[in-house]
């Protein structure tokens, strides 16, 4: 009886602590966003730094994004061939590859890879700055860490990531087309016909909207976690891991929610 009662009490304690911690994070995250919005007025500070960050993040990420998009396009093409050859007209492959890349693979794979690349970078940078008192130093000089560090990073990510997703879509489409020609023997005319037959202009908007939400998850969550890092080098390591895991989970959740809201409603 004692054990059962003790376990019950422990579970309540764990649930209570978890709820308090979650509520604490929610409050701090809301305040973090509010502070960021208030710092928009200091545009002389964040505008030049945003461009620096955008160039840094954009150039640094384009190779890995295009590489993954290319492979995703090729694999989609090969699998389409494996599953549908001799069952459907070949032009359908054009539609499946194009829609798969634009609606799902381009935004999601790019989001996940950038959660690892940009998210980890931001969390580690800000975490290190926090534990080495560089953020305190900035504040002690009467300067806002929001406009100097956080706003430029977040806005740069939100600008660059949707653009990277569009490049990823184009690359996935191009490589998928090439792979379809090589492996399925589909003609250019059939591929284009299939792609156009299933394509709706909203699909591209959907991809842009999704990529914008994913970009927000990729930059805001790691920046928040990095900014609130504690306890030295171990804390920086933990913050970096937490940032990547949380941003990735947020992307997957957003993917489901946005698909439900944007695609189900348009059918």
């Amino acid at each position: 009886m004692e054990t059962a009662g003790g376990t019950g009490l422990d579970l309540r304690r764990v649930a209570g602590r978890w709820s308090l911690r979650t509520a604490g994070h929610a409050g701090r995250f809301a305040y973090f966003l509010l502070d960021m919005v208030r710092s928009l007025a200091e545009w002389r500070i964040w505008v030049p730094r945003t461009f620096e960050q955008a160039i840094l993040v954009g150039y640094g990420s384009i190779f890995i994004v295009l590489l993954i998009a290319g492979f995703a396009g090729a694999v989609t093409s090969l699998q389409t061939g494996y599953q549908f050859s001799n069952q459907f007209p070949k032009y359908i492959a054009g539609g499946i590859i194009t829609e798969s890349v634009i609606l799902e693979l381009g935004p999601v794979l790019t989001g996940l890879i950038l959660a690892g690349r940009i998210g980890a970078r931001y969390a580690a940078e800000l975490g290190t700055m926090r534990v080495t008192e560089q953020i305190d130093a900035l504040e002690s000089l009467g300067r806002s860490p929001m406009s100097h560090l956080l706003l430029p990073r977040c806005l740069a990510g939100m600008l660059v990531i949707p653009a990277l997703v569009m490049f990823a879509n184009a690359t996935g489409f191009g490589v998928g087309w090439f792979a379809a020609k090589s492996s399925l023997g589909i003609t250019n005319a059939d591929f284009i016909y299939g792609a156009r037959f299933f394509f709706r202009s909203f699909d591209l908007w959907y991809s842009v909207i999704k990529s914008f939400f994913f970009a927000s998850a990729v930059v805001l969550i790691p920046c928040y976690i990095g900014y609130n890092t504690q306890q030295g080098a171990e804390g920086v390591g933990r913050a970096t891991t937490d940032a990547v895991v949380s941003a990735s989970i947020a992307i997957l959740l957003l993917d489901v929610v946005l698909t439900q809201i944007l695609l189900t409603g348009t059918q």
Partner: protein, 258 residues
């Protein structure tokens, strides 16, 4: 004028500051002594508003630091130079940019000519060559990093200078150099300073007034002579411990020279 009245601060269950009263008059240099981990840096961070007290009042120039709005707090901070324990230099920027960030007046900060000459002037004040300006923090020794931290803190011509353990982690020779620098800056710039340290010799060299933080309370305050003459057991214990440390240090320095 810096004034802390009845200030208390606790982190979870640990009481760091317990009803502290601490006063620094304009033009004074006050050393805050105490063993490591006693809460000296926490007290210093209250003055600049990096930490908010649980109870009590922290005021600088008559302004209640804890209740200031963002803009007013930023404005107040431009009058205070803060020297961090490990320098806290921005490692992605060179020394010049680090010091330039210390120029808190936005108009002057945008004036490239002024910034160039001010960086050189600050480097001269902390006994560093102008060539150091192009180096990155990772290329500097511990002592140089501390001096660049001081240069950044004085770049905005502050009224107050707060030093957080300016000699920690330095050998006795470099500690002496930094103490000399603190003393000289006080004379040349006429700033009001608070020096947090656990180095008794350094504190006696630079301070007009010494306060001993002991077990979350200010245990003694007075001129260096008054502190030496104090009959308080905690004060005597702390001074003797430092004397022993100084002897051990000098013996090990002698030994390493052989």
């Amino acid at each position: 004028m810096i004034d802390l009245k009845d200030v208390s601060k606790r982190f979870v269950d640990h009481v760091v500051l317990d009803h502290i009263d601490f006063h620094v008059a304009d033009g004074q240099t006050v050393a805050l002594l105490g063993p490591s981990g006693v809460g000296k840096s926490v007290l210093l961070k209250h003055i600049i508003g990096l930490i908010i007290p649980d109870a009590g009042l922290v005021s600088v120039d008559g302004l209640n630091v804890a209740s200031l709005k963002r803009k007013d707090l930023a404005q107040l901070r431009t009058r205070i130079g803060y020297v961090f324990q490990n320098g806290a230099l921005f490692d992605s920027m060179d020394v010049k940019e680090n010091i330039r960030l210390g120029i808190t007046n936005e108009e002057l900060y945008s004036d490239a000519g002024y910034c160039e000459s001010r960086v050189k002037e600050c480097l001269r004040l902390v006994n560093l060559q102008p060539e150091v300006a192009a180096k990155f923090p990772s290329e500097l020794s511990g002592g140089m990093r501390k001096r660049v931290g001081i240069a950044r803190a004085i770049a905005g011509k502050p009224k107050y200078l707060l030093y957080d353990e300016p000699t920690s982690g330095l050998d006795p020779v470099n500690s002496d150099v930094i103490d000399g620098l603190v003393e000289r800056l006080q004379e040349e710039l006429g700033v009001t300073s608070v020096v947090v340290t656990h180095d008794v010799r350094g504190a006696f060299r630079v301070a007009d007034k010494i306060a001993l933080l002991w077990q979350a309370k200010i245990r003694a305050v007075g001129t260096p002579e008054e502190i030496v003459a104090s009959k308080d057991s905690a004060v005597q214990q702390f001074l003797e411990r430092d004397l022993e440390m100084a002897l051990i240090q000098s013996e090990s320095t002698d030994g390493s020279d052989v």
